[in-house]
């Protein structure tokens, strides 16, 4: 299980997958918006998205867990 965290404080702009989806390393799972920039948060490794802990529009602090890959 790998917990993937927000690289910086911002708002969840877009979720590209739903739990259960298979992802390859580097696939953009979540896109944050911060400082008016789109910040893609990629899967750090291949696997299955076990859980997504945020929804679009959520405010997240740097370091908050966004999703879990198993």
């Amino acid at each position: 299980m790998t917990e993937v965290t927000a690289p910086m404080t911002g708002i969840v702009h877009q979720l590209n997958v739903t739990p259960g989806a298979a992802v390859a390393e580097g696939d953009g799972v979540v896109v944050l918006e911060s400082m008016k920039m789109h910040i893609p948060v990629p899967a750090p490794r291949a696997g299955t998205v076990q859980e997504i802990r945020v929804k679009e529009g959520d405010f997240v602090e740097e370091g908050a867990v966004l999703f879990v890959i198993g």
């Binding site: 690289p7 910086m8 400082m35 920039m37 789109h38 740097e62």
Partner: protein
């Protein structure tokens, strides 16, 4: 003539270092013996001018007092060397060790040549503390000398093993710190000490390992996979450095860029879309010349040396692919230190700006992002080497200042045709300035109103308008950037300026 035999015997014994079992341990750890490291680093170990070989020679347990010092050649240039010998008392420092280190530093200063510290040491010998710790020419003098040498002669530290407690200031006060992954470590208090004194349980690697220092603390500049790579990195770095602050770095063979992708295809038009700044650098600089500093630390800002038709240049570039290229406290520190290094050693600076500004929010305010940002602005202001700032896509807010905007005496401010320079981008500005007016309107009228305001704002900060106001010196086509930079840096070759006269600025740190 008995003493000739004696000299040969003692010299041979001393050059073999400590007991065999410690040599074997080195091999198990993937480490080299100090003199083997020197064989790789120096052009010719047989020409090495070694002094103090006979330090503590009457004590069979202390060959050379655990350190090799002398003058050698790297790439044909004279360089002073200090190398810990960890087979002797774990490379620890006694009175003569310290005296040897102090002397080789004094030698580097008087010869006006770089110094390389090859460190693998358990630190000061506590049993000898009165002879090596507190006095005038004791360990403190090593660090005093380093501060005095900083900005006069290049100082490179390769950390092959530990450098604990006070000895950790040796890497901290060097210009460049190369750390060997898994073997190098630096901490003020060891994990054992931390457990005893503050109750924290933490392992060696997490406390002060190479990877931690190169990615989190910022003490390390280059993370090397092994000792050979570390030594190679030191040579590459020195190739970018002059012998001392009065001289200029050497030129090299010119080479075509590694990537033939046109710059115009690399930079997206949309301001909010990330792109990889490394692709732009690859398309811009001589192939194979890019030598990155602090690659793993604060990667939202890229710093490194490269060459343009063989001439050295220091690059400071925002990386929109990481955290949108926003500047943080760590990236500001990283940028400031790199700019100071380039300015100290006559390396022209190239800023590639694509920056949404400094990060905002309560978290970064509490960690002091204002004073960290001020540090970078300070370094950029002080830099009098040729400096060119290129606005690649945008430079908003104090990001413009940190990236050597027009007020900071760049020799040239250049911009690509889609670039924007503003206090903030159109979206943020309209939302912030017209918030109340937008809220007063019926909801269905808001989108059209906002769109109109953004259009007007964008026209106001249009790059042709800024060029017309002489804010930027030239708007250039992206595909012509390399040639443009080569010409403009060549034109700056004769620049010699002093920023101002004073004892020292009061640095915002």
């Amino acid at each position: 003539m008995a003493n000739i035999e004696r000299l040969r015997a003692v010299a041979a014994r001393v050059k073999a270092g400590g007991p065999q079992r410690y040599h074997e341990r080195l091999r198990e750890q993937g480490k080299m013996f100090a003199r083997e490291r020197l064989r790789l680093l120096l052009d010719d170990l047989d020409e090495f001018i070694e002094d103090g070989l006979l330090a503590r020679c009457e004590d069979e347990e202390l060959p050379a007092d655990a350190v090799v010092t002398g003058v050698g050649r790297i790439g044909g240039r004279t360089v002073c060397i200090m190398a810990s010998d960890s087979t002797v008392k774990a490379g620890s420092w006694g009175a003569r060790t310290v005296e040897k280190i102090v002397r080789i530093q004094e030698k580097a200063l008087s010869l006006n040549v770089p110094i390389v510290y090859l460190v693998d040491s358990a630190g000061g010998r506590i049993t000898d503390q009165v002879e090596m710790f507190p006095g005038r020419r004791h360990a403190g003098r090593i660090f005093y000398n380093q501060v005095k040498m900083s900005g006069r002669v290049p100082q490179v530290c390769i950390l092959f093993g530990p450098s604990p407690a006070g000895a950790a200031y040796l890497p901290a006060l060097s210009d460049l710190v190369i750390m060997v992954d898994k073997n190098a470590s630096a901490y003020l208090g060891s994990p054992r000490m931390a457990e005893m004194v503050i109750g924290e349980k933490v392992d060696h690697e997490a406390m002060g390992g190479a990877r931690m220092h190169c990615s989190v603390s910022g003490l390390g500049d280059v993370l090397a996979a092994n000792e050979e790579e570390a030594i190679e990195s030191a040579k590459r770095y020195l190739a970018y450095m002059p012998d001392n602050w009065r001289e200029r770095p050497a030129e090299a063979e010119r080479a075509a860029p590694a990537s033939a992708t046109p710059v115009s295809e690399i930079v997206p038009k949309d301001q909010n879309t990330p792109f990889d700044m490394y692709r732009l650098i690859d398309a811009l600089v001589d192939g194979g010349s890019f030598f990155e500093i602090k690659k793993e630390f604060a990667p939202e800002l890229i710093t490194g040396f490269a060459r343009l038709e063989g001439r050295p240049v220091g690059i400071v570039a925002n990386q929109p692919a990481v955290k949108g290229g926003v500047l943080f406290s760590d990236s500001a520190d990283k940028g400031a230190r790199f700019v100071w290094m380039c300015n100290a050693y006559n390396i022209p600076l190239l800023f590639l700006a694509d920056v949404p500004g400094f990060m905002i929010g309560s978290k970064v305010e509490r960690e002091g992002i204002i004073r960290h940002g001020a540090k970078m602005i300070c370094a950029v202001s002080e830099a009098t080497v040729p400096k060119i700032s290129v606005i690649v896509r945008k430079a908003y807010g104090a990001g413009l200042y940190a990236m050597a905007g027009p007020a900071f005496e760049p020799d040239y401010t250049l911009a690509f045709p889609n670039a924007q320079i503003a206090i903030m981008g159109p979206e943020a500005a309209i939302n912030a300035v017209y918030y109340n007016k937008i809220q007063e309107l019926p909801e269905e009228e808001r989108p059209a109103y906002v769109a109109r305001l953004r259009r007007e704002y964008a026209e106001d900060i249009d790059i042709f308008r800024l060029a017309s106001e002489l804010i930027v010196d030239a708007v250039i086509e992206p595909d012509e950037l390399r040639q443009e930079l080569i010409r403009r840096f060549a034109a700056c070759a004769g620049k010699r300026e002093t920023f101002t006269e004073r004892r020292n600025p009061v640095y915002p740190v």
